[in-house]
Amino acid sequence: MRRYGPAVLLALVGAAILRVSLFSDLYLRYVQPGLRPYLVVSGVVLVLLGVAVGVLVRTADDGEAQEDLGAPAGHTHGPAGPRVAWFLTLPALALLLFPPPALGSYSAEREADRRAARGVGTFPALPAGNPLDLTLGEFGSRAVYDSGRSLTGRTVRLTGFVTRDADGTWYVTRLLVSCCAADAGAAKAEVRGVGAPPVDTWITVTGTWHPEGEPGSDAAWPPVLDATSVRRTPQPDNPYEKR
């Protein structure tokens, strides 16, 4: 029975990957949308590999003696394959049984306000739309670095979760991810004029930009939104924004 260990393990990892990438959108909590095809292919290959290894073990059983497959001479591990491989069950079972949640306010508050340093300059014109849906990253960089002040007079709509400072100021926040959730950084906008919903609630805020300080100066960060309405919204499929 133990000799089927590697086959089972491969199939388990494959199944876990397929569960979050092919059968649901859960993979978006961990990695970028672009990785999906690779995840699906990897999942399928791992499941097939598990089957192939199982078949090989079986034919080896029928034919020759017991030695074979992952139990080569002079190697320390037994027929069950490399022992360290069993650590793979940890993420695999987590993905299959209790997929970990998307990162939220806890991670956003731990991130210092790391904004990409860039020069002040003009931005391309904003598209039409009233209200205009913007990502928090886009809103933040236009609010802080746009010498043309393209946000002036526009009604914008931002989607994110609620975070709060100790002094009661609250923000609509989104985590920005470039590769996987491990490199998440926060983008946020202070919301004025409407009371704060509970922390970590997903909301859509509509309002207008409230300029603070000169473009590029410290006073301009974080950007401020004079809100007219705050609406609760379900967590989007992709909880992160692309950096």
């Binding site: 650590f87 998307a102 996987c180």
Partner: protein, 329 residues
């Protein structure tokens, strides 16, 4: 007949025992699980699980690609091919292998098994190691990502290319000159049924390499997630004042954060308080030395190798980024 009966009986016993065990486990988990979860599933723990899973999920496709390539090399490519492709003299083979790193697009997870398999196929360890270091650092995907992360700063891309390739080649030469065979413990995998070759050896090599490296990937992901949750990042920004300290700090940060090489440029770009040289060091060290890689190398080449090689690489990478940064940035 008796055999069939015995098999049927065995299957029945296994099903009953297995089923009973499964029901017990499910019951206990579903009753105790929620109670425990409320107490233990605090925000930091939840964030740890998410980061841990994210690094693993991100690594699996690249690790699989690397192990497929390495198993294919082991099973289908005859030894003499490499002897013909690479210059006979190690001193020349090292830079050629380093420059060949351009062809393997992928995270660093992919390059460790490939390098191991190259060595098993008779490639000089020094050349294989130069390839191991350069492949994740200078492939086209990484360079494009770097140019997107630093718009209007082509010198950052050039600096990364030069400093990474330089580090890889210097490490290859250092290994050729000072390296000792006994530090490297290659699993002598194929000795048992080397004659096999072909699809059977491919499947067996692939399952072994993937499971082995996968286990170490999980260990590395756990270490990285722990650092991500434990080290408060505002504290790090205290060090931005001194040029030397900031280079060293970001070089250490690259080791503990384990950001994959395709993403580290974006992280480096966001560390805006630091000097360009410090950010270059972050991008040069990251793909060559980090917790996840040390774990993978320990698994593939043995601990005494991983410790020596990683610390030497770290020093060379920092020195090379400082030199290149001083020259270009």
């Amino acid at each position: 007949m008796a055999d069939g009966l015995r098999t049927a009986l065995r299957i029945l016993v296994h099903t009953v025992l297995g089923g009973a065990a499964l029901i017990t486990v499910v019951t206990v988990v579903s009753v105790l699980g929620p109670m425990l979860a409320i107490d233990l599933y605090t925000p930091p723990v939840a964030a740890w699980w998410t980061v841990f899973t994210a690094i693993t999920v991100q690594g699996v496709p690249f690790l699989l690609l690397g192990t497929v390539v390495s198993a294919a090399i082991g099973a289908f490519v005859p030894q003499r091919v490499f002897q013909r492709l690479l210059p006979r003299r190690t001193a020349l083979a090292v830079p050629v292998a380093g420059a060949a790193g351009v062809v393997l697009p992928g995270c660093e997870c992919a390059s460790v098994p490939v390098a191991g398999s190259l060595m098993r196929r008779g490639v000089a360890p020094a050349a294989a190691l130069a390839f191991l270091l350069s492949a994740p650092a200078i492939n086209p995907v990484v360079l494009v990502a770097t140019s997107i992360a630093f718009p209007g700063q082509p010198e950052m891309v050039l600096g990364r290319l030069v400093a990474s390739l330089g580090t890889a080649v210097v490490m290859g030469w250092l290994w050729a000159r000072f390296g000792r065979e006994e530090w490297l413990r290659l699993p002598k995998r194929d000795t048992g049924h080397e004659q096999g070759g072909g699809p059977r050896a491919f499947v067996s090599g692939l399952q072994h390499d993937f499971l082995h490296a996968g286990g170490f990937l999980v260990l590395g992901a756990a270490a990285a997630a722990t650092f991500d949750i434990v080290v408060p990042s505002p504290l790090l920004e205290v060090f931005t004042g001194s040029a030397w300290l900031s280079v060293l700090l970001l070089a250490v940060l690259a080791v503990v954060l384990c950001v994959c090489s395709e993403a580290d440029a974006f992280v480096a770009a966001s560390l805006s308080g630091f000097s360009p040289t410090a950010r270059l060091a972050f991008m040069v060290v990251g793909p060559m030395v980090d917790l996840k890689l040390i774990a993978l190398q320990t698994g593939t080449f043995g601990r005494s190798f991983a410790v020596r090689f990683s610390s030497a690489t770290w020093l060379v990478a920092v020195a090379s980024s400082v030199l290149v940064g001083w020259w270009l940035l």
